[in-house]
């Protein structure tokens, strides 16, 4: 019975992953991260992704803070935040988030404040979607490991 549950959950995981790939939310770098996970480093992907979430939310707060300033002019600083966001997104395979950063950076280089605001909203939306889906993925993985009778540390 337990085995069947694990199998079905694995299928759920694969389906979700396939969807995210199909939507372009994730790219092959995410698969690369999964390949780096093994018995010696069983939580590697979620560890890296949690660091990414933490850093990304800081960056998003910074970006919004900058754009909300009455006398905002520090496009250079915005560019630095965006480069960081782009880099880390690319490193975990967050393709759509990264692409929005590229567009955002272009608007920033043109000192197009309205364009930046639009890009920021899109970025927040994409990031939210990514975060929700990855949480879903990790939850399924946890349940699958439990169902398969493997001891698996809880993520919070």
């Amino acid at each position: 019975m337990l085995g069947l549950g694990a199998d079905r959950l694995r299928a759920d995981m694969n389906r979700l992953l396939a969807l995210l790939f199909h939507q372009g939310v994730l790219d092959e770098q995410f698969l690369q991260l999964q390949q780096l996970q093994d018995e010696s480093s069983p939580n590697f992907v979620s560890e890296v992704v949690n660091i990414y979430f933490h850093e990304s939310e800081k960056l998003l707060r910074n970006l919004r803070g900058l754009l909300m300033e009455k006398e905002f002019a520090d496009y250079k600083k915005m560019g630095i935040h965006l480069n960081q966001f782009m880099g880390s997104s690319s490193s975990i395979g967050a393709k759509r988030v990264r692409n929005v950063c590229v567009a955002f950076r272009a608007a920033s280089e043109q000192t197009n404040r309205a364009g930046c605001l639009r890009a920021l909203e899109l970025l927040e939306h994409e990031y939210c979607y990514l975060k929700n889906k990855l949480h879903e993925l990790f939850q399924i993985e946890q349940q699958r490991a439990l169902a398969a009778g493997v001891r698996y540390p809880m993520q919070n």
Binding site: L33, L36, E55, I80, G87, S88, S90, S91, I92
Partner: protein, 239 residues
């Protein structure tokens, strides 16, 4: 803060002033990874460990120089004895000191210039790649870094280490390295790389490939570099 003598290779996986390191086995390849992004540090660390490298990951060029003992505040170029570094892999874009500036500082040092330096960058800019290679970078990797990139690096790192091992004993690896350097006259990085097909690093192919040097730097002596046992001695000539 006094660094000499406060850190010894006997410590195990301790965090010291922003460094994370584990002691270096005399046989293991030790890589110093430099990146201001924590996400990227975690990834490169894992990539290197999974290819059997010891890793010290630092978050800035400054810390990298401190680790090597090349900090400007100190006159001595003696670093941590026993913690030899076989490869330095650094991000290009970093606040403060860029990877390019770090590369220059390392190549200006008589003690450390023979350590291969690899640059990572998310931007595939030919001018940037050229500049780094001309300054003596061993290779240039376009991010995101993959396992295949690191495996390729592993090959010419092994050669660097094994070349210095003349069987004279494992006590001080830096001494071995230096004595080896003296015997091969030109101090440039190229002389310590055995692959005979190695062409000048300042003329990579102009195609927007991820790693322009991969063709010239792949070891001719290892037929399928990814499959062959990494620790096996594979030198061609020692001159």
């Amino acid at each position: 803060m006094a660094r000499n003598g406060t850190v010894s290779w006997r410590r195990r996986s301790e965090k010291v002033d922003g460094f994370e390191f584990s002691p270096v086995d005399s046989e293991e390849v030790h890589v110093l990874a430099v990146d201001d992004s924590l996400v990227d540090r975690k990834v490169i660390e894992r990539l290197l460990r999974i290819t059997s490298c010891k890793v010290t990951a630092v978050d800035s060029g400054r810390r990298a120089l401190q680790f090597l003992g090349l900090d400007e505040e100190k006159n001595s170029s003696v670093g941590f004895d026993g913690l030899k570094v076989d490869l330095i892999i650094t991000d290009y874009c970093m606040p403060g000191m860029t990877g390019y500036e770090l590369l220059k500082k390392i190549k200006e040092s008589s003690t450390f210039r023979q350590i291969p330096v690899v640059i990572m960058s998310s931007e595939n800019v030919l001018a940037r790649i050229d500049r780094c290679l001309e300054e003596g970078a061993e290779d240039f990797i376009v991010k995101p870094v993959k396992l295949s990139d690191v495996k390729r690096l592993r090959d010419y790192m092994t050669k660097e280490v094994k070349m210095g091992n003349d069987g004279t004993g494992g006590a001080n690896k830096r001494k071995q390295r230096e004595s080896f350097d003296l015997s091969s006259s030109p101090p440039s990085i190229l002389s310590s790389s055995p692959p005979s097909s190695l062409s000048s690093p300042s003329s990579p192919s102009p195609s927007p490939s991820r790693s322009p040097l991969s063709s010239s730097l792949s070891a001719p002596s290892s037929p399928t570099s990814l499959d062959s046992p990494i620790r096996r001695l594979k030198t061609t000539n020692t001159d």
